[in-house]
């Protein structure tokens, strides 16, 4: 009765898992950013905030460049293009004209601060007696200015210094201009491009957003395609995310479909039952559904790598079903589900525990993305185990009407014979030669800890990105400085002191430009120094009065202006005043505060020599150099070495755990197939000039779990070695099919993982008979070829 209730619970839980998975599926957020797999916090969390802010800003940006043979045609079609994009709620903003309101608001804040807002060059010029030249130049510019608002400029910025200050803050890149309708026009090699920039309303990794944005962009492109000879270039994380999702989806379907077809063929050949075929997929579906749902609720999003690995659960979760079906088939008419389950339970439970432990060892490695894989795989496997243990005995109560195909038993029998014979006759010479070959392979094994070599980006997108960057002429480096200070004023002063060496490096051509908060706002000390020079050289010297007189400014206005610029506001312009407006600009400087400390970021453009820039960093003085890619590469190296240790530790621990049931000799025998398979895989990789990365090591950790399953079943099922080897072989083939297909992935990381497991599991299955006990002096059981199933064997249970 109790058993019946438990089985009912198992069935209900299985159905609930599948329903939960179906409910979660449309809500999934798939992240294809490979950086998301790795830990974010490497420096202190306050410094990492800069990276988070930059990432959030950059990843939501989308840029389009529209072009056609004539600027008029491009410009006339642009409003429709913009309108199509704006109709989608997936875009928070779409603009083809600069945000002049924000810019005007910032200029309003600067109004009246002309004497305080001198650039370092202007100040030096005045200090070195350039006041006369400055006045003459201003006079010339005002008297000859053909533009409008000259009266306004005369009052707001009489000497043109504030204009120069604004120019150095935001230098328009070469070839940029505004046309008379306000559109941003980029001219490069006699071709005009119209710049449209957009900001996404959500993360580009949201599947829903990708679909909406994809449709909106398609409609916008269609509208622009009416322009004869029209072309569109685009750039943004969105396009890489879309390509990543498509690749992941296509790979999931390839892996999933290949795996399913393989498994269907296997099941039909071996078990010859459509019912079992359907039943075989229940543990997998339940496992995938529960894994998806749990990852979604725990992490909020799911990484594409997790999804691809998750699809591979098909190969592993399948094993439990295959072992159950094999035992039922080999038991013939004597099949009793409870007894069969008892027979399977030790190997099944130990296998699931070791596999789950192997997956969870990923989390020990500390990679957030791999923690997801661990959760997904472990939960999936446990669910699959639950279905096999809880649901199968309730459904498969009657004995199987089919027997194992004779050819499989013949093959396994022949292989076991051959293996036993080789085991007996294998001399030290063969062993020594094999050892030398294996060691030579291992010696050739290289390493790869470079993140960029593990991510294969869509080449078309990369080419378009490069073309777009060449046209726009901006390329912000991935490396940057974070400057920390006790308050805003100290921060601005630190940024100012860094500007001096940065300008030297800029003159040397090591960077083309840099963006720093201090360009927008000089420190209070600097503002005061500027005011003093202004007053001394322009007001007290009478030059300003002469200047106004020469221009013919009405005496009453001149008196007011002199008074205004002689007695400027005593308080300097502060960050608090400027920031609310500044932060609305798409290319605003990065500034934030944590625990009353103030932080600013210096972004670099056209960086040619990161090492030269790095030397400016001084963490003791609060100047940090951040190089995310280098950090991650270092991490990959550390984790590769760490994972190697973890692997050896895991093998030792497994040996120790298994001793209580099998003794030390038995324990070593069980561990031998996966351990030797690991060494052989590494050696083959060495001969094939493959490089070892963290992903190969993760695959080897997984191999320990999967290979241990095979070894345990061989050990526990040694009384029926042919049938057990058929089951182990079936599991191996289905797993190889799944992981072998992972080797087809375009993502180098996944490819490495798949290839390693493909090789490892093949070797492990071939070496599985090593796990069987070999009583001294008793040869391995030999069987007649093509012998039909022997019912007597069914009763020989595991002792």
């Amino acid at each position: 009765m109790k058993l019946k209730v438990l089985r009912l619970v198992a069935i209900v839980a299985t159905v609930c898992s599948i329903l939960l998975g179906l409910y979660t599926l449309p809500r999934l957020v798939v992240n294809s950013d490979i950086l998301a797999l790795f830990p974010a916090a490497q420096q202190s969390p306050d410094i990492d905030l800069a990276g988070n802010q930059l990432k959030a800003r950059i990843e939501r940006k989308v840029v389009f460049l529209l072009s056609s043979p004539t600027w008029e045609a491009t410009r006339n079609a642009a409003p429709e293009f913009v309108q199509q994009l704006r109709q989608c709620s997936c875009f928070a903003a779409v603009n083809a004209t600069p945000d002049s309101n924000t810019w005007m608001a910032i200029q309003q804040q600067y109004a009246g601060f002309a004497p305080a807002l001198l650039t370092p060059v202007q100040r030096e010029f005045l200090e070195q007696g350039g006041a006369n030249d400055l006045v003459q130049r201003a006079l010339r510019d005002l008297l000859t200015n053909p533009g409008v608002a000259v009266g306004d400029r005369l009052q707001r910025d009489p000497l043109g210094t504030a204009g120069e200050f604004l120019g150095q803050i935001n230098p328009s890149p070469d070839g940029f201009s505004l046309d008379e309708s306000g559109f941003i026009r980029v001219t490069r090699d006699n071709q005009d491009y119209l710049l449209v920039y957009a900001e996404l309303a959500d993360s580009p990794y949201s599947l829903a957003l990708q679909q909406q944005a994809g449709a909106a962009i398609k409609a916008a492109k269609l509208a622009f395609s009416q322009v004869s000879g029209g072309g569109i270039l685009h750039s943004g994380a969105l396009f890489y995310a879309q390509a990543g999702t498509q690749q992941a989806q296509s790979e999931i379907s390839t892996v999933g479909l290949g795996s399913m077809l393989g498994i269907i063929a296997l099941l039909l050949v071996v078990f010859r039952s459509w019912g079992l075929l359907v039943l075989a997929f229940v543990p997998i579906v339940a496992g995938l559904a529960l894994g998806l749902a749990l990852c979604h609720w725990l992490f909020g999003q799911i990484h594409a790598v997790t999804l691809v690995f998750g699809a591979s659960l098909v190969g592993v979760g399948q094993d439990y079903a295959l072992h159950f079906f094999s035992l039922r088939q080999s038991s013939g008419p004597h099949w009793q589900p409870e007894r069969g389950l008892r027979e399977l339970l030790p190997a099944l439970s130990l296998g699931v525990l070791i596999s789950a432990a192997a997956y969870f060892s990923f989390s020990l490695a500390g990679f957030p993305g791999l923690t997801q894989v661990a959760v997904f795989s472990s939960v999936g496997l446990l669910a699959a185990y639950g279905v096999v243990v809880g649901v199968y005995p309730a459904i498969l109560r009657r004995p199987s009407r089919n027997v194992s195909p004779a050819f499989l038993l013949t093959i396994t029998g022949a292989y076991l014979d051959w293996f036993a014979a080789r085991r007996r006759t294998c001399g030290p010479l063969v062993l020594g030669l094999s050892g030398v070959l294996v060691c030579a392979g291992l010696a050739q094994l290289g390493v790869n800890d470079d993140l960029r070599r593990m991510q294969t980006l869509d080449p078309d997108l990369v080419a378009m990105d490069r073309q777009l960057r060449q046209i726009i002429g901006q390329h912000t480096a991935l490396q940057y400085f974070v400057v920390r200070a006790d308050d805003d004023e100290a921060l601005l002063q630190k940024l100012e002191s860094l500007a001096i060496p940065l300008q030297v490096l800029q003159q040397q051509g090591l960077i083309s430009q840099y963006q720093s908060l201090t360009r927008w706002l000089p420190s209070a000390a600097s503002q005061n120094a500027s005011r003093t020079i202004w007053r001394d050289t322009l007001i007290n010297s009478g030059r300003m009065a002469d200047f106004l007189n020469q221009l013919g400014v009405r005496p009453d206005v001149a008196a007011k202006l002199l008074e205004y610029y002689d007695a400027p506001p005593e308080q300097p312009l502060t960050l608090q005043q400027l920031w609310p407006h500044l932060q609305q600009l798409p290319d605003a400087p990065v500034w934030y505060s944590v625990d009353d400390r103030s932080y600013g970021v210096i972004l670099l453009q056209g960086l040619t020599d990161p090492e030269a820039l790095r030397s400016l960093a001084d963490p003791d003085d609060g100047v940090f150099w951040v190089d995310k890619v280098a950090q991650i590469n270092q991490l990959l190296r550390d984790y590769r070495i760490g994972a190697s240790g973890l692997l050896i530790f895991a093998y030792l621990l497994t040996v120790l755990v298994l001793i209580w049931r099998y003794g030390w000799r038995g324990s070593l025998a069980i561990v031998a197939p996966p351990a030797l398979a690991t060494i052989l895989t590494l050696s083959v990789m060495g001969w094939a000039n493959q490089n070892l990365s963290i992903f190969n090591l993760m695959a080897l950790v997984l191999l320990l779990g999967v290979g241990m399953d095979a070894a345990l079943f061989m050990r526990e099922g040694h009384a029926k070695p042919r049938q057990t080897l058929v089951a182990v072989g079936l599991c191996g083939i289905s797993t190889v099919l799944s992981f072998g297909l992972l080797a087809l992935s375009d993502t180098t990381a996944i490819h490495s993982f798949g290839l390693t497991l493909w090789l490892g599991i093949t070797f492990c299955c071939l070496l599985a008979p090593l796990a069987m006990p070999r009583p001294p002096g008793i040869p391995m059981p030999t069987l007649k070829p093509a012998a039909p199933i022997q019912l007597q064997e069914v009763d020989t249970n595991v002792k």
Binding site: T144, R153, L178, T187, G552, V553, R554
Partner: protein, 210 residues
Amino acid sequence: MKLRMRRVLQLITLLLTWCCVPGVRADVFDHPLGTGNNVTAFSTLTTEVQRQERVTGAFTQTKYLQILDRPLVTRGSFSLSRANFEWRIESPFALSYQFAGQQLTRIADGAQQIVQPSAEPALYGFFSFFTSLFNLSQEQLENAFYVFFLPGTDTWELGLIPIQPQLAKAVQRLHITGSGSRIVHVKLTEASGDRTEMEFSYPDPQPPAP
């Protein structure tokens, strides 16, 4: 009582002034492009203007600023082709501007300086606008302005009122007078009340009227 009388007198004076100013009653701004026969005439004019490969001439620019007690007068010459606009000021200072490929360069004392649109938007806007004005494309003008046109026997008048709110904040209206395919006079009234007047003269013979 005295105050009221003064107001009435002021009103009468204003009305008299209004009626006496020539051209006010036949204001170009009463003739939006698209009314009457001005579309055909304007189209003929733009075709004629665009046919000219290169226009050169002299200019006198007078700026009337409210804060100045005398106007600012600039004289010089200009040369315009499809790809290049040169504005050479001869007095009161020798200075020239060159606008080509959407880039504005200031040349003074033999030194060249690229003028960033963000640093001097009004100056940059002037050259961008005048390049399109001398090329006189209806489509281009209508993108940025409400266009008014009054064709005459020998002369014509063109009125422009900015559409873009940002431009409208600075420029109230432009009144352009031309003869044949040439622009003769431009009056630019700013939103602040300041105004700029430009007289153009051409050394070569007058092309046929549209």
